[in-house]
Symmetry: C2
Subunit: 370 residues, 2 copies
DNA sequence: CAGCCCGTTTACAACGTTGGAACAACGTTG
DNA sequence: CAACGTTGTTCCAACGTTGTAAACGGGCTG
């Protein structure tokens, strides 16, 4: 092992505790001893053993961030902000991926107790509110991006219902009338899907427009591609493709995702689509373009998440941009309060968002050619 | 704190060590005692305190993965594989971001020594081979994705020179003659940029074609957009845009990146571009398309990394697909060997790659309409 | 039945750190 | 100059775990 306080103490000719005091900036150390100790510290290039410190103090300085998958751009971008926000507290972040699987989510929630981490920021998909409530563990927990009503834990998210309503209103404001929602889910218990769907419904109802709802199994490009293809061909067939290996070439023909249900007059092609996230929208965009239709002229397209891809696609993607930095900071702050033992009733906090109108709903003045 | 071995021992009426033996599956424990202890363990829902175990054993079971930025899709995808590969060793992974800044890289390399992690998988950009060699620390280290010749540490990467040559050959094979390389860097010391440039040069030289090289500062979409715009307008102007907030709207007009140098006849528009990564390619694609030109008819475009975005862009992006899973597994294996103290001379290992030909170089049979 | 072996269990120490009590040195006060 | 407070330093214990060595006890051998 490396050099310990003991080694430094021997070299400096003082006690171990005095060295500890110097290291921790304890006030009452005479300048002379401090100098001696500091020289010894430097000479031996001492580094505290954090395992030992943690054992002693019962803290590890590490938090876990559990999310469905790191290679979904939204989560990658969010992780970046969480890591940065945690760094401000001098915390390290370990990342755990659940793939949205219930079993994994249980395991994460449970595994927190091995004392390796001080707290958990958790973006659940499959697990239900009841199960979360039944948690016996008292490790600090903050939920991110989900809304479990009256949940047992702190929670941060944007106002998904309102955001969905806003963007649907935007599409309506363009004069579109056959506006589809793409991204409803049958299975998801605690997902944001129902919230976004609710927002879409509110807007459609307010204007007396018929609902067209396409469901997907997951939130990948492949699912958006499949569901959009189904919308275009008017059937529930030709869907599937949760597998993304190989990309588009593999999509179509397999699987069972992508049901489409219209309230009235299903069969006519939609003239606008609100996708519940940007990945779905990019998959859908590809499906529209490769069917020979134009975006936005034939079909206006909007997403939600504001991932970077959507700022460079052709056309660029209109979307809702959650304030990811704010989300991360709020989550870390809440967690810090829990860890520090400042117990409150579970809180629901909202982060802001902005509507980003881009070419997929409103073409630039000079239609093409920069 | 939670329940400890001690608590369990008291309940089961045995010594602490016996409980420890049961927990660790030590062979010589009588069935009767084992049963008693196991019941007590279950009743108290015991979880080992890993801080203590680590202190005792000098291992933390945590490794660090340091990379430039998590929100670059290539690194996000790679991280996913590293986390999964580490999980097979029952390791957790903390992620550190360097933003490619030298100071951060130094800090990471140095900070490893606080005993919080057993090893480090490091994807450096700025730091030089000399500095790496001068490292006094002996914590396990594996370099990922860089090639520091005769470096002081284990190293995994694909054969960048050959991959770049292959893809350039592919472009040449299409009959293109004015093929640009986009992604050279002035500053990067240890980056892959020089290797990819070398591969490009080998291929061009072999066919007697003139080189056209565009430099960038970083590897983001904005840089690709700016550099491509410069290539199209034939000047070195209108570049910049390392900042990616706000997307394309902000790119152009600011900054100083994007020099273009041709060996002969610069000024004519290239008919193919090999971008040193997919993000650059996607930025470049957007620049080409919004200038009114077509991909691949007017300009064929290829990238490197095989990020998922390129499988759904319009047109889809021809690229080199490194075997990310293999990269991750090799890195983790090498690290494991180091951590286990099996010392070898530093090793250079290669992961495989595949050329993925897509629409951006070869349009599908039925040019449009699925 | 002494001696021995072997399987099982325990006591002890140690990993490196820090909180708290104890203690020493020193200057101040009455 | 005794009592006292302040400042600086040390000693001890403890965090929870596991390696080592030793103790225990039962069955077998000689």
């Amino acid at each position: 092992m490396g050099t310990s306080l003991r080694d430094v103490a021997v070299l400096a000719g003082v006690s171990v505790k005095t060295v500890s005091n110097v290291v921790n900036g304890y006030a009452h150390v005479s300048p002379a001893t401090r100098a001696k100790v500091e020289e010894a510290l430097a000479r031996l290039d001492y580094r505290p053993n954090l395992s030992a410190r943690n054992l002693r103090q019962g803290r590890t300085g590490v938090i876990a961030l559990a999310l469905p998958e790191l290679d979904a751009p939204y989560f990658a971008e969010l992780s970046r902000f969480v890591i940065d926000a945690a760094a401000e507290q001098r915390w390290l972040v370990v990342i755990e991926q659940t793939d949205g699987r219930l079993e994994r989510e249980r395991q994460i929630l449970d595994g927190v107790r091995d004392h390796r981490v001080d707290g958990l920021i958790f973006s659940p998909i499959a697990i239900g509110a009841d199960e979360l409530a039944a948690r016996t563990d008292d490790t600090a927990l903050v939920l991110l991006g989900e809304r479990i009503h009256d949940g047992p834990a702190d929670h941060v998210a944007i106002d998904n219902v309102r955001a969905a309503r806003d963007i649907t209103e935007h599409l309506i404001g363009l004069g579109r009338t056959r506006i589809a929602a793409l991204g409803a889910q049958d299975s998801s218990i605690s997902g944001t899907a129902p919230l976004r769907l609710a927002g879409y419904r509110q807007a459609m109802a307010a204007h007396g427009l018929p609902e067209i709802v396409a469901t997907v199994e997951r939130y990948h490009r492949a699912d958006g591609f499949a569901a959009m293809t189904a919308l275009l061909t008017g059937g529930t067939g030709d869907a599937g493709g949760t597998e993304d290996a190989g990309g588009i070439e593999d999509a179509g023909g397999i699987g069972d995702a992508g049901g489409v249900g219209g309230t009235g007059g299903a069969g006519e092609r939609p003239d606008a689509v609100f996708c519940f996230n940007d990945l779905l929208a990019l998959g859908a965009m590809r499906a529209i373009l490769s069917s020979g239709l134009r975006v936005p002229e034939d079909i206006a397209l909007a997403g939600l998440d504001d991932i970077e891809d959507g700022r460079y696609s052709t056309p660029t993607l209109t979307t809702v941009a959650p304030d990811k930095s704010q989300l991360a900071h709020i989550a870390v702050d809440l967690l810090k309060q829990r860890i520090d033992g400042r117990a409150h009733a579970p809180r629901e906090l909202r982060a802001g968002y902005r509507l980003m109108v881009r070419e997929s709903t409103v073409p630039p003045p000079a239609a093409s050619g920069r």
